[in-house]
């Protein structure tokens, strides 16, 4: 039994299955194609953010500014496109958003790598700084008439399945999420840089002694998170078909919850892409599907909070019990 508990991913997978069964038995529409596509759609932006945050947490840090980076990049890109290249194709928009996100991420990296400042507090500060700057200097009005590229992208579909009522769409942006997951998976498992991220999370000192250039790794990590966040923000804006500078910020917890539930630990050194994907699924199901069993959406925050507490509390209790038994660890 404890072997199963050891594999965090297995535990989350089991929880997803159980939760799905509970909801589905209560309300079979849970298993409908329409709902499944909806769940996937809700996972898109969350998933892209989560891949970035996963890398940060594996390295032993934490980043709470990614939502601000995302919305900053998205809003700025929208304004740029509207102002300078209104007919630009969607991939240009993503590129610009990604570049802006990268730049903002580098600011994070600077403070964290150069001054060895605590990541939570730095990113708390940059969260405020980026969001404030966006609203103050770039614009605080909702842009409802987005450039045609974004609009078209929002309406596109990968798969269209006609239902009794309406059509079920699978949005192509899911491919972005899949690509992000694939890239991160390859990075973490097959590149020395990725192993360096794990090493850094395991022991900074040992990583330095082994010859890893820790500041350079940190620069990569936070810049890459910025890049992913910019893309995620852009995806969000496109799907929402409007650029609202007050969106996304405030939803950091959902992403962090997904990553932590997936097996990553704040202390660093641990976490996998598969686990994070499962974590995302769990968070999405828990947030979106409660309505199907009659739980009003206003309970979402409570549910997420409880999920985090149970998801981190159980392993913590287990660890405590193990430590007490293994007396020589004292």
């Amino acid at each position: 039994m404890s072997r199963i508990f050891r594999s965090n991913e297995a535990l989350v997978a089991v929880t997803i299955v159980l939760l799905s069964l509970v909801i589905g038995l209560n309300n079979p529409t849970f298993f409908s194609v329409g709902n499944l596509f909806d769940l996937l759609r809700s996972s898109i932006v969350l998933g892209i953010f989560a891949m970035g945050v996963l890398i940060v947490i594996i390295s032993g840090g934490i980043d709470v500014s990614f939502t601000a980076i995302g919305i900053f990049a998205m809003y700025s890109t929208t304004r740029i496109l509207k102002g300078f290249m209104p007919e630009a194709p969607i991939w240009v928009a993503f590129m610009i958003a990604g570049a802006i996100g990268l730049g903002l991420g580098m600011i994070n990296a600077f403070f964290i790598a150069r001054f060895r400042l605590p990541t939570l507090i730095v990113t708390l500060g940059t969260l405020s700084m980026f969001h404030g700057f966006l609203l103050f200097a770039i614009g605080n009005q909702i842009i409802r008439d987005v450039p045609p590229a974004m609009d078209q992208f929002a309406r596109s579909a990968l798969v269209r399945i006609p239902l009794e009522r309406g059509v079920a769409n699978l949005h192509p942006a899911i491919l972005i999420t899949a690509a992000a997951a694939l890239v991160v998976w390859f990075l973490l498992n097959f590149t020395m840089l990725g192993r360096g991220i794990y090493a850094l999370g395991g022991s900074r000192e040992a990583a330095e002694r082994a010859g890893f250039n820790v500041p350079r790794i940190q620069y990569f990590i936070y810049s890459f998170v910025g890049l992913l966040s910019g893309i995620a923000g852009m995806t969000f804006g496109s799907l929402a078909r409007q650029a609202n500078p007050q969106d996304i910020v405030g939803t950091e917890l959902n992403v962090i919850a997904a990553v932590v539930l997936g097996g990553a630990q704040l202390t660093g050194g641990r976490g996998t892409v598969i686990g994070t994907i499962l974590g995302v699924l769990l968070v999405v199901i828990a947030s979106n599907s409660l309505i199907l069993i009659g739980v009003p959406t206003v309970w979402q925050r409570v549910v997420i909070g409880l999920i985090i507490l149970i998801g981190t509390g159980l392993p913590a209790i287990q660890a405590r019990r193990a430590a007490q038994r293994g007396a020589s660890s004292l």
Binding site: F111, L117, I121, G125, L134, L253, L266, I308, G313, I317
Partner: protein, 342 residues
């Protein structure tokens, strides 16, 4: 040998005592700067009074961050707990008294509402303490989770919009001997915390635990108990802040004060609190609160002069974030110099 030791000692005293002195100078300088820049708009009785009723809201919350940071942790749920307390309070006031209420006289419901707020806040704090001390979840995650829980409950109770009531306006707007009541609450809390941290064994244990939890365990300090009490106090303080929220705004909302977390962390760091634990003073915190208030009002007025008013709030957000980073970088260099002089 003795001479150089004595000199080193003096340097050390200067560098550490000087932190409070430095802060004092900074606070005064900020005040002077804005007075010069803005003249009578800033340097007037009316403005001082206006500032005086603003800072207690986040200033009181700062005590919660102070005590949790001293133990090497942090409480990110304080705003959630404050709002939840305010909402429960407002609920009691509106449902049991006043228009549309059950007709119970205010003399009963007002104290009841305040007690309820503190009770709810205590529960919030105790839950935090339990999760951090007994279960062993790292404070960041634990309080992120409970923060979501408390804010979520606030939304569930209100359904979204605010609950308004003016019953506590007397607290928010009232004065005793010319001093606004929120300020008096702040001062009282400051005195209580100062005494508690410096002159009680609990306070002593908080500092030691924050410095080295393992050595604290080996020295017989009851780590779990100290942590429970710490987070409970933080919750209680959040409850007091919540009452002030309600008293000042005449309403209780689930999303009030979202920027206060960053603000209180900034205040703590500026006030000399070490986020790794074990070091920080009430006097530093109080000076820091004042500095931030002066900056807030001053920047606001400056922005109003220079551009539209709606942008001013957002500029402040930017300013707080930038200031936090600036303070941390400055601390970094100060620490470097201190290491070199040792």
């Amino acid at each position: 040998m003795q001479e150089s030791l004595k000199r080193n000692m003096l340097m050390r005293e200067l560098l550490s005592e000087n932190q409070t002195l430095r802060l004092f100078i900074i606070t005064v300088l900020i005040f002077i700067a804005f007075s010069l820049l803005l003249g009578e708009r800033f340097f007037s009785v009316r403005n001082l009074q206006s500032m005086a009723v603003q800072f207690p809201e986040f200033g009181i919350l700062a005590f919660a961050i102070l005590i949790t940071m001293l133990t090497g942790g942090i409480d990110l749920s304080i705003v959630g707990a404050a709002n939840l307390s305010a909402i429960v309070s407002a609920l009691i006031l509106t449902r049991l008294s006043g228009d549309g209420g059950a007709g119970i006289p205010l003399e009963a419901t007002i104290p009841l509402a305040m007690v309820a707020a503190l009770a709810v806040a205590s529960l919030c704090g105790l839950l935090n303490g339990f999760l951090v001390a007994r279960v062993g979840i790292t404070p960041i995650l634990a309080t992120l989770g409970t923060g979501s829980l408390y804010t979520g409950l606030s939304y569930v109770i209100t359904g979204g919009p605010a609950i308004t009531t003016t019953q506590l306006a007397f607290i928010g707007n009232g004065t005793i001997a010319g001093v606004p009541i929120p300020v008096i609450v702040f001062i009282v809390l400051a005195i209580i915390f100062a005494v508690m941290l410096n002159r009680t064994s609990f306070g002593f244990n908080v500092y030691m635990l924050g410095t080295n939890p393992r050595a604290a365990l080996f020295s017989g300090i009851h780590n779990e108990r100290v942590l429970m009490r710490t987070y409970w106090l933080a919750g209680l303080v959040a409850g007091i802040a919540g009452i002030i929220f309600l008293a000042r705004a005449n309403s209780a909302k689930p999303d009030y004060g979202e920027t206060f977390i960053l603000l209180t962390v900034l205040i703590a760091i500026l006030g000399g609190v070490r986020y790794t634990g074990g070091f920080g003073t009430v006097s530093g915190l109080v000076l820091s609160v004042l500095s931030i208030q002066f900056l807030s009002t001053g920047l606001n007025m400056l922005m109003l002069q220079l551009s539209g008013s709606s942008a001013a709030i957002f500029f402040r957000q930017f300013a707080w974030g930038a200031l936090l980073l600036l303070v941390m970088v400055v601390n970094y260099y100060v620490e470097q110099r201190r290491q070199r002089s040792v």
